[in-house]
Amino acid sequence: MSLKGKAAAIGIGELKPVKEPGDLTALGLMAQVAAEAIADAGLEKKDIDGFLVGVPFSDPGMIYPASAAEVLGLNVRMLNQVDIGGASPAGMIWRAAAAIDAGMCNAVLCIVADLNKVGDQRPPVISVQREFEAPYGNIGANCGYAMIAHRHMHEYGTTARQMAKVAVDQRTSALKNPLATFNDKALTIDDVLNSRMIVDPLHLYEIVSPVSGGAAIIVASPEVAKRTKNPPIWLLGAGEYANHSTITYAPSITESPIKPAAAAAFKMAGLQPKDMDLACPYDCYTITVIVTLEDAGFCKKGEGGPFVMEHDLTYAGDFPCNTHGGQLSFGQPGLAGGMSHVTEAIRQLMGRGGERQVKGAALGYVNGNGGIMSEQSSLVLERRS
């Protein structure tokens, strides 16, 4: 059993994030990107018969998928919510392919949108985190990633300049991305290191900015993919893994569950990291990219820091990485931040990268990362010539 070549991404919709949500609603943004993605795929709404959705923080609720599908006016044969944090969008792609391969549906709308504000009700935090983390101030994601960075520096000699280089190169690509939130000014390593220290050793420019926005992807069966106007981007491999929720209880905080997730994805694809033309690793923080490149096998464990210094990570470089700017420059519209890595890989492989097109890109690696290096979902995507 394998999902290799069983389904393809055929259309995308993505909004330019905004900093102030104003009168926007998450459901309204979903309707906008759903319409955009369906039109992009050359389909009609009635063709959508599967629905995977992420629950927005700004408007959470139970029985979410049917409620959101009703707002969008969908009639579907398969529906569910995917709740694996920032890994949800990547996780949706293989779940959609699996449902299609099982014969449950033919064209799945995968959708996420969120606002940069807390709604009437906050999504509840699980009791053990409220009891054993919050009293000590382990609240939000910053602290966990800062502790990962400190330990990585201790074990492998990773430096602040190496981590900063990730934000710098991604910004260079963002300057060519009209959708990116931060696309008007190049960054230098010194700019990053001179930005305010938020959680040692992470500076402001190493941390994603919350914004409002949304994105959608249509995943379709080979039959539906035949009649799309876009080149289908085939799922070749997928892998998922989790071994903790709170980073304190992870077996190691510097060696992540990305390792088994990526290994499974590459194994299913029958390919290796060196075969990839671009990489789109989740980048909530700079250290996340370094750990991902190591654990996905693009370099040896502990050598992520020197690797990012030795390679040009921009769209024009020898190792194109997060050519949309990453979330660090794109912004993080809730779960749509994680979807930005998937849409960018699809866009590049379709040859729609515009001024930042990676020449001849045919194979891409995507990683979605949830929580504090917890849920991991890796994808290998291909444009067939």
Binding site: E131, F132, H154
Partner: protein
């Protein structure tokens, strides 16, 4: 005395013995009677072998800083008294726990030896913290 405004642990039936011990200024962990693993945070069954033969043991209170951060700007208004040192402490008995290091931020290092101390934050709540050993 000012009112304590930070989040407080709300013990569950499973964790109540842990917090009752901290109020006596004792650090206790569950230990599995089958595989002998020490367990933190408290569970109903051993997360390693699923045995339900768990017993509470008082432990040494010694450990080291596995990693840490100095939170200069907190995500929650309750911690607006930042900076504070948040750490993962690896106990001598094995388990890791989230805690605070009571020390000047510039003095904290990865792998630094620490020992437990107790912070009676309210008459009913005592948190487990650590200081340089």
């Amino acid at each position: 005395m000012s009112e304590y405004y930070k989040p407080l642990p709300k013990p569950s039936p499973t964790s109540r013995p842990f917090w009752e011990a901290t109020r006596r200024h004792e650090l206790t962990l569950q230990r599995c009677g089958a595989c002998r693993a020490y367990i933190y945070y408290p569970r109903d069954r051993c997360p390693k072998c699923f045995s339900d033969k768990l017993a509470w043991e008082r432990v040494s209170g010694r450990g080291k800083v596995y990693s840490f951060t100095v939170v200069r700007r907190a995500s929650s208004r309750a911690f607006s008294d930042a900076p504070y040192v948040l750490a993962i402490v690896e106990l001598a008995e094995g388990p890791r726990m989230t805690s605070n290091i009571i020390a000047a931020p510039e003095d904290v290092r990865v792998e630094m030896p620490v020992e437990v101390c107790f912070d009676d934050v309210t008459p009913d709540h005592t948190l487990v913290k650590f200081k340089p050993a």
